[in-house]
Symmetry: C2
Subunit: 609 residues, 2 copies
C-alpha cells in the first residue's frame, strides 16, 4: 500500500508581499512599466505611449500602435527590457513648467501626452530613464534599473483597451506584465496562478456538472444541475441539523415584498440601487425582489406577542435573495445576482446578548472546521469613534462591541480590529477565510442590531410585565451558499470530502461477469445511505479508472474474480491512495463512519489502511 | 378503553343538488328573491328594489333603503315571506311594450327600474307575484309559491353593495338568503356551512400557528411560521423520497429570468397579464418573476447533449412561482400570489411516453392515497375536435391522448372526459379531489407537451445516431403546496395524521414530581425521531389536556406516579380515544411504526389497543 502522495508537503514556503502594503513593489512595478514603454518605442518606432500604472499583480502600459502586438513581439519586448535593466539606468525626476512640458511633448509628436498634461495639476513632473526616454509621471520610482531584477518579471498578455476607457475613442493595445522583488516570488506567483486556473470553480463546476448559466435566464443567475443540487442540499442539511440542535426554527418567506416593507426597514432609502427594479408603476403599490430576509422574519416575530420566557427566538431560512449587481461584475459563483443566504435572525433580551452572541460564533467556528476552512480570522468591525454617521445610544454600542470582543476572546479566536467597518446601525464580526492559494474571502458574518427592532417597534413582555425592546442578531455562517460552493470547489480543487461528494463511490469491474455482484454491492451500500454508482459502460478497466478520476469520485472499488469470490472490494481513494482489498462489510462500515464524522480523505484512508 | 367516537358515522347521507345542474333549484331561488323583495316592500314601504338573482348557495336582492336592515328586520322579513309563500300566489309572466313598462315604473316611483329597463333588450317581460307585486324579469320562475317550501329557506346576512357595483353610486342593502328543495337539504347545507367554518383553514391556520399574512409584505403572500414550515418540509420530504425512488433528480433554478426566456417559451405572449410587472424599462433588458418552472428546467436539459440511453430525464423542483392575481381574488392559501409547485419535467423519447405517463399517474395516485384524499376522479382534458386553436400534428395528439386514456384504464381510475379542456399545446389529465364537505378541488395535473421541445429546439441522440425531438411531460401531484396545505387543514379539520403533525405527542404530568421522568421519556422518544414536547406550564392536568386538545396534538400521554413506577404512559389519542396505560417502549414502537406507515389515527389507535 502506497503512502498518500503529497507533492505539496515539502515545497518551501514563499510569502508573496501584498502589493497594497509594499512600497518597494509598487516602485518596482511602476518603473517596470516605464522600462516596457521605452522598450516598445525602441523596437516599434512611431508607437505612442499613454498611461502605465502598477496594479495588483504587476503593471501595464497602453500603447497606440498601428497593429496588435504578437506573442513574438512580447518576447522581443521582454528581451529589450532585460537589456535596459542591465544598463542600470537612473530614474530622474524633473519638475518643469507647463509651457516647457508642452514644448517637449510637441517635439515628441505624442498628442495623447497633451491630453494627459491638460488633466494634470501643477507642479508638472517628468521621469527620465537615463537620458533617452521620459514620460509625464508623478512617480515614485526605484532609483535605478539596477534595483530591478531581470529574472523577477514577465510579460503576460495583450488586450485591447480604449483611450480613457471610452469606446468611442481610439483603441489602444494594453500589455500586461508581472514583476516581483525576487525570482522566487515570481515563481510562486506563477505557481499560484496556474494552481488557481486548475482549481477555477467555473471550469471545475462545468467539468463536474454542478451548475450552468443561461443567456436566456440572465447573467449571475446560476441554475443547479442534479449533482450541484445534491451538493447544495448536503450543505443545507448539514447546517440545518447543527442549527436545529441549537434551537433554531426554520421558516419560509416570500421572495418579494411591498416597497413599504423596505421603506419601514430603511433598506429602500439606503440600498435602492442594489435592488432589482421595482415591479409596478407606483411606489405605494410596487413590489420588489427581496435583497435581504430580515424584514420578513420580523413580520413573523411581530405576528404574536412574545414573553421573555420564549426568547431567544431564532428564525432561520435558506432564503434566496436578489441583488442587482452590474453585469460586468459577475463571474462564476463568487459574484452573482441571485444567491441563497443561510440566514437567521435572533430576537434576544439585552441580558441574553452576550451568551447568544458567543453561541453564534461558536456555531460558525465549528461549521468552518467541519468544512476544513481552518484558516480564518475574525474582523471586529467596530464604529469609528470620530464619526457621527452611527445611530443608537452610546450605551447600546458599548454593550454590542463588548459582546463581540468577549465572544472572540472567550473562544480564543484569531482576530483583528476593523475600526470604522461597522454598519451604521451596529457593530459586526466578519469571518475572513484564507484559501489554499492564500487568497482571502469574507464568508460568515454576525451583526448586532438595535435599529430594526426600533423601526419595526418590536416588543416582548418582560418578567415584570412591562413591554421591552428585544435586540436582534443577524447571522449567516456561509454568507451565501453559492459563494461558499465556489470557494469550496477551489479549496478542494473539486475533490470533495466523502460526505459532500455527489457520488461517493463507483464500482468498476474487470469484466462484465462481475456486474451482477457489483450491482448487488451497490444496492447494499445504498441501503446504508451511501451514494454509489456502478460503471456499466463496458469500457476497459483503464478507461473506467480514468473516467472516475476525471469525475473526481473519492472512492473507486475495483471488482475482479478474486473480489467476487472473497466478497471484497479493491479500494483506491482519490487522490492516489491504493488501499488494497477489503471485505465489503468493512468498506461499508468505514465509509458510513467517515460520512458521519465529516472525515477528510486522509483520515478515511488511515481507517481503511 | 372506549371505542373511537364517530358521530359522523350514522348520519343519514343527504345529497345537495348542484345549483348549476338543477333548473328546479334555480327557479326556486329566483322566485324566493321576488318573494323576499315583496316582503321587504310590504314591511318597509318606500324601499326601492333593484336586482335579485339566484346564486350558488341561494339568492339575494339589492334594496335602496334609508337605513340598514337589522337582525330583527331579517326575522320579520322571513316571517312575512312564509306568509306570502303560504298564500300560494301564482307567478305570472307578462310581455309589455317598452313605453308600457316605462309607464308602470313611473307609477311605482322606482327610478332604478328605469335604468334597468334602459339596459334590457326587447321583448320586455315582467313577472307578477299574484296581482300585488311585479318586477322587470326574464324568469324563469316556479309556477306558484306553492312550489316553495317555507321550511327550506333562510335569510343569512345583510351587506352593503353599490348600485351597479360602482362605488361612486348609491349604496344599497343586499340581503342574502339560501333556499333548497327540502328542509333536509337546508339542514345539510347549514351543517356543511358550519362544518366549513369550523374547518376553515384561515381560522385553523391562525389557531395552530401555521402561517401568517402581512400587510407590509403584501396580499396573497403567506409567511410560514416554524410549525407551518415543518409541515411544508414533511410534505416536501415525503414527495421527494417517493420521487427519488422513481428516478427523479432534484434541481434548483432562479426565481427570475429574462423576458427573452419567456418569449422563447411563448409564456410572455400568452400569459403576460398573469405575471408580476416586468423589472426594468425595456423588454430586451427586463426580468420577470417566474410563473412557471418549465423554461428553466429546459435550460438545464439543453446544457448538454443527451443520449437516448439517459432518457427519461426527470428534473424535479419545489419551485416557488409568482402570479399576479387580482388582490380581490385572494383569500387564505387556496388562492395566493406566490406558491410552491411540486413541479417536475420529464424528457422522454416518443416510445417511452406511454409507460412514463403511466408511472406518473401511478405516483400521483399513491401520493393522494397516503394523504387520505381518497375521493378523487381524473378528468381527461382532451382537445375539441371541431376547434382549430391547437398546435401540433394529428398524430402527436392521438398518441398523447392515447397515453392518457391508457394510463387511467390500466390503473382502473375513476375518470371522465373534458372535451375542449386541453391546453393548446397538448392534452392533460387533472386530478379532481372531493373533500369531506363534498367540495371539489383541482389538485395534481399531468400534461403532455410537444410544443416546448419544438420552441426550444430540444434534441437527443437516438440509437441510430440521428438527432430526435423528445416529448415533455409536465406534472405536479400537489399542484401547489400552499393550496394542498389549505385543503388538508380543512380535510383533517386541523387533526393531522401522526406523520404530518408538527408536534406528535405531548407529555402531561399530574404533578411537577413527574417532570424529570417526562423529560427523560421525551428525550428518548426524540432520539427515535418523534416530535415530542413536555407541558412544563405547571398548570393543572385538566388545563394541560384542554391546551393540548386546542393545539390538536394527536397523542397525549398522561404521567402520574403509577406511570413513573411502571415506566409507562397513559395514552389518549385525538380525537377522543382513551387507550390506557402502555409501556413506554411499546408506545415508541407503535408511534414510530405509525409514522413510517403514514397511518391514520384509527389504525394507530387499533394498534395501541
Amino acid at each position: 500500500m502506497s503512502a498518500p502522495a503529497s507533492v505539496e508537503q515539502h515545497r518551501p514556503k514563499v510569502e508573496l508581499p501584498r502589493t497594497s502594503e509594499s512600497e518597494t513593489l509598487k516602485k518596482i512595478r511602476h518603473t517596470m512599466s516605464h522600462v516596457m514603454a521605452m522598450a516598445v518605442q525602441t523596437l516599434f518606432p512611431g508607437t505612442q505611449v499613454t498611461i502605465g500604472p502598477w496594479i495588483k499583480q504587476g503593471f501595464y502600459y497602453d500603447f497606440d500602435s498601428p497593429q496588435p502586438f504578437s506573442e513574438a513581439d512580447l518576447k522581443a519586448i521582454k528581451k529589450e527590457m532585460v537589456k535596459i535593466i542591465k544598463r542600470k539606468l537612473p530614474l530622474i525626476r524633473e519638475q518643469v513648467s507647463r509651457p516647457e512640458a508642452e514644448r517637449r511633448i510637441q517635439a515628441l509628436k505624442e498628442p495623447y501626452k497633451l491630453e494627459i498634461l491638460a488633466g494634470l495639476e501643477d507642479p508638472i513632473t517628468l521621469y527620465h530613464l537615463g537620458d533617452e526616454w521620459w514620460d509625464l509621471c508623478a512617480g515614485p520610482h526605484v532609483e535605478s534599473t539596477a534595483d530591478l531584477n531581470p529574472k523577477a518579471f514577465d510579460l503576460e498578455s495583450v488586450a485591447g483597451a480604449y483611450w480613457r476607457g471610452d469606446e468611442t475613442k481610439a483603441q489602444l493595445q494594453r500589455i500586461y506584465g508581472t514583476a516581483w522583488e525576487t525570482p522566487e516570488q515570481l515563481a510562486e506567483y506563477k505557481r499560484r496562478k496556474e494552481e488557481a486556473l486548475r482549481r477555477d470553480h467555473r471550469k471545475l463546476g462545468k467539468e463536474l456538472g454542478l451548475f450552468i448559466f443561461s443567456d436566456l435566464v440572465g447573467p449571475g443567475l446560476p441554475l443547479w444541475t442534479p449533482k450541484g443540487t445534491l451538493l447544495r442540499s448536503l450543505l443545507e442539511d448539514f447546517l440545518k441539523q447543527e442549527q436545529v440542535q441549537r434551537g433554531y426554527q426554520p421558516v419560509v418567506t416570500p421572495h418579494i415584498g411591498r416597497v413599504d416593507l423596505f421603506k419601514t426597514s430603511g433598506h429602500w432609502q439606503k440600498y435602492k440601487d442594489d435592488l432589482f427594479p421595482m415591479m409596478g408603476e407606483q411606489e405605494d403599490e410596487g413590489f420588489v425582489l427581496k435583497a435581504m430576509n430580515c424584514p420578513f422574519h420580523i413580520q413573523i416575530y411581530k405576528a404574536s406577542l412574545h414573553s421573555y420566557r420564549e426568547l431567544p427566538i431564532r428564525l432561520a431560512e435558506f432564503g434566496t435573495v436578489y441583488r442587482y449587481e452590474q453585469s460586468g461584475e459577475l463571474g462564476g459563483l463568487t459574484r452573482v445576482r441571485g444567491f441563497t443566504q443561510d440566514d437567521a435572525h435572533l430576537f434576544v433580551t439585552p441580558e441574553q446578548l452576550n451568551d447568544e452572541f458567543l453561541k453564534v460564533v461558536d456555531l460558525i467556528q465549528s461549521v468552518f472546521r467541519i468544512l476544513r476552512l481552518d484558516n480564518f480570522k475574525a474582523r471586529l468591525s467596530f464604529r469609528d469613534p470620530d464619526s457621527d454617521k452611527y445611530i443608537g445610544s452610546e450605551d447600546a454600542w458599548q454593550k454590542a462591541e463588548y459582546a463581540i470582543q468577549r465572544a472572540v476572546e472567550t473562544l480564543g479566536m484569531d482576530h483583528f480590529l476593523g475600526i470604522g467597518e461597522a454598519a451604521f446601525y451596529g457593530p459586526k464580526l466578519d469571518f475572513i477565510v484564507q484559501d489554499a492559494l492564500e487568497r482571502e474571502w469574507q464568508l460568515g458574518t454576525v451583526q448586532v442590531d438595535y435599529n430594526l427592532p426600533e423601526r419595526f417597534d418590536l416588543e416582548y413582555v418582560a418578567e415584570d410585565g412591562s413591554r421591552q425592546r428585544p435586540v436582534m442578531i443577524h447571522r449567516a455562517p456561509f454568507g451565501s451558499l453559492e459563494r461558499l460552493i465556489g470557494i469550496l470547489i477551489e479549496e478542494y480543487a473539486g475533490d470533495f470530502p466523502l460526505w459532500m461528494a455527489p457520488i461517493q463511490a463507483i464500482l468498476l469491474t474487470v469484466s462484465d461477469e462481475q456486474l451482477p455482484f457489483a450491482q448487488q454491492v451497490a444496492s447494499d451500500l445504498r441501503l446504508q445511505g451511501l451514494r454509489v454508482e456502478v460503471d456499466v459502460s463496458g469500457d476497459r478497466l483503464g478507461k473506467q479508472i480514468r473516467n472516475a478520476e476525471k469525475a473526481k469520485i473519492p472512492v473507486m472499488a475495483v471488482i475482479g474474480a478474486k473480489e467476487v469470490e472473497s466478497d471484497s472490494l479493491n479500494i483506491r481513494l482519490r487522490p492516489a491512495v491504493d488501499v488494497g482489498s477489503l471485505p465489503v462489510s468493512q468498506v461499508a462500515a468505514i465509509l458510513t463512519q467517515a460520512v458521519q464524522n465529516y472525515s477528510d480523505w486522509q483520515t478515511t484512508a488511515a481507517n481503511l489502511a
